[in-house]
């Protein structure tokens, strides 16, 4: 298969996955509601980094330029520093 092969036309993809997208969005909304409901019993701070990451991920969902899954993965990833101290191979 050559790269960038998507046999499913956009209109059929929407038809096939619309209900799944609806279901998963409702799941996220319900999770956020669940967190809100429990605030009195055990507080989650507004600056909790996990809440911040979810908020940033939701912002990516609005952007229609593509690569959303990869960009959301990056939001939930630790930063990489290329200068880390590497072990030496034993030739």
């Amino acid at each position: 298969m050559s790269k960038q092969t998507t046999p499913l036309p956009a209109n059929k993809a929407l038809e096939q996955f619309f209900l799944e997208a609806r279901c998963k969005l409702l799941d996220v909304a319900a999770i956020l509601d669940r967190v809100n409901r429990g605030q009195e019993a055990g507080e989650v701070l507004a600056n909790d980094p996990r809440i911040e990451r979810i908020r940033k991920a939701l912002e990516v969902m609005h952007d229609q330029s593509g690569g959303r899954a990869e960009r959301i993965q990056q939001i939930f990833s630790l930063e990489y520093d290329s200068g880390w101290e590497k072990p030496k191979p034993r030739y």
Binding site: M1, L8, F17, Q73, F76, S77, L78, K86, P87, P89
Partner: protein
Amino acid sequence: MNYIDPHIHMISRVTDDYHRMALSGCAAISEPAFWAGFDRGSVDGFRDYFRHLTEVEPKRAALYGIRHYSWLCINAKEAENVELSRGVIQMIPEFLDKPNVLGIGEIGLNKNTKNEATIFQEHVDLAMKTNELILIHTPHLEDKYKGTRMIIDMLKNDRRVNPERVLIDHVEEHTVRHALDNGFWCAMTLYPITKCTPQRAADIIEMVGTDRIMANSAGDWGKSDPLAVPELILELKRRGHPDSAIRKLVYENPLAFWRMSNRWQEWPVEETAPVKKKEKARV
């Protein structure tokens, strides 16, 4: 469609799973050495585990017509114990003449620590000395991107390593191109919640193609599905991908990678031939 699951921990699965995998078309599997759910205390504990992988599990799989291969190492979680890790690495060659051992794996990083990196490099040293294939575990969740980059740094830093003999496992949207663009093989793990769903794995295939990539269930004692590869086959079929492309992903690619193993013995031709060729042969 026949398929291969190139990463599944059958030691933690029941025999019924072998039965259902056989019914679903599973022709072969490979089982990398992994964490048992607790840290083992001695080299002898690992020796017994390697006997299980190389002697017991192939027999259990054979009862269902499934070929069983394995990979040997001490996993990244236990690599924090450097002394134990070095003892295990020293013992591994005892098993490298077993016919079903494909190479060293699944080595890698877990929390991206210095000790994990040290033991990763020492596994690579062993693999280079013995000319073994390497199977690499990349970390979970937030550690994956950083750990994958660190692993690739170490491999690129070692001039003995031929990327065509290394498979980087558990790739996702943000790591797959790092593996492929550096010449490595890679695999997507179809694992609920923490890795790829069959749908996202199909999306990744649509983005990067089917060269040097495969898919596995990584079924183990956690919540996982030993029939995850057939789920991916179904997803790709539903989207209209041709059988030839699906077969390359779930059968020909893992076989092509395994064939580079030092001890590889070819399967009978009728097992590896595409279905159409078998049908023609019967006419």
